[in-house]
Amino acid sequence: MAVEVRLPTVLRSHAGGASVVSVDGATVGEVLSKLVAEHPGMAGQVLTDDGTLHKFVNVYVDDDDVRYLQGLDTPVKDGAEVSILPAVAGG
């Protein structure tokens, strides 16, 4: 399935400045792994070393937070929009 991945501002420099990239994958996990493989500058910022979602990002399939779906196993349909948004916090 080819999905449109929307990138947060912090990752765009690793995709040549693009705010949206097209990635193939059947699940969110596959899409993100592929994304990092194609844009190695993003390594460590989207997925952690053990392959889980980084705590500084939230991922949505269309408008649903994948943490409330099946996480990285959430399936994605052709043409879906996967948005990576920063988790912003501080003290």
Partner: protein
């Protein structure tokens, strides 16, 4: 001013929101107050649902999220160690609003690789016909 009002309204907790405009530019085009999901006087977390809403709104405006503001209820308008550790975007403006004293203080910073650089904050003058407001510190 809208930012300070949102921070005052959020007391006793820290308040927060997002700055929208052109990523990397100096001017903030739009302000989007958000909820503090942590609902605490010590820490803030932009509510993820608000982040989604603002991301969509920014996209509709042809703009990007270019920074974040949050308040410090009892400390200075300066990034805390937590703020620096969690500052994930070197291109953003990090605005602090201190509510420690009677007059709120607003300061802006760039945070890159753990290094803090203060930026000048310019607030457009509020024009009220027939009323001379002078200039208030930080407002």
């Amino acid at each position: 001013m809208e930012m300070v009002a949102h921070c005052l309204a959020g007391l006793p907790d820290e308040a927060c929101g997002l700055l929208v405009g052109s990523y990397g530019a100096d001017e903030v085009a739009h302000l989007f107050p958000t909820r503090n999901a942590a609902a605490s006087a010590m820490v803030y977390e932009i509510d993820p649902k608000d982040m989604l809403r603002v991301d969509r709104a920014a996209r509709a405006l042809g703009a990007d999220i270019m920074g974040v503001f949050h308040s410090h209820t009892h400390t200075d308008a300066y990034p805390s160690p937590t703020d620096v550790a969690q500052a994930s975007d070197p291109g953003w403006h990090y605005v602090l609003v201190s509510l420690r004293d009677t007059h709120p203080v607003v300061r802006s910073y760039g945070i890159v690789d753990g290094g803090i650089t203060e930026e000048e904050v310019e607030v457009p003058r509020l024009e009220v016909p027939g009323l001379d407001l002078g200039s208030a510190p930080g407002l």
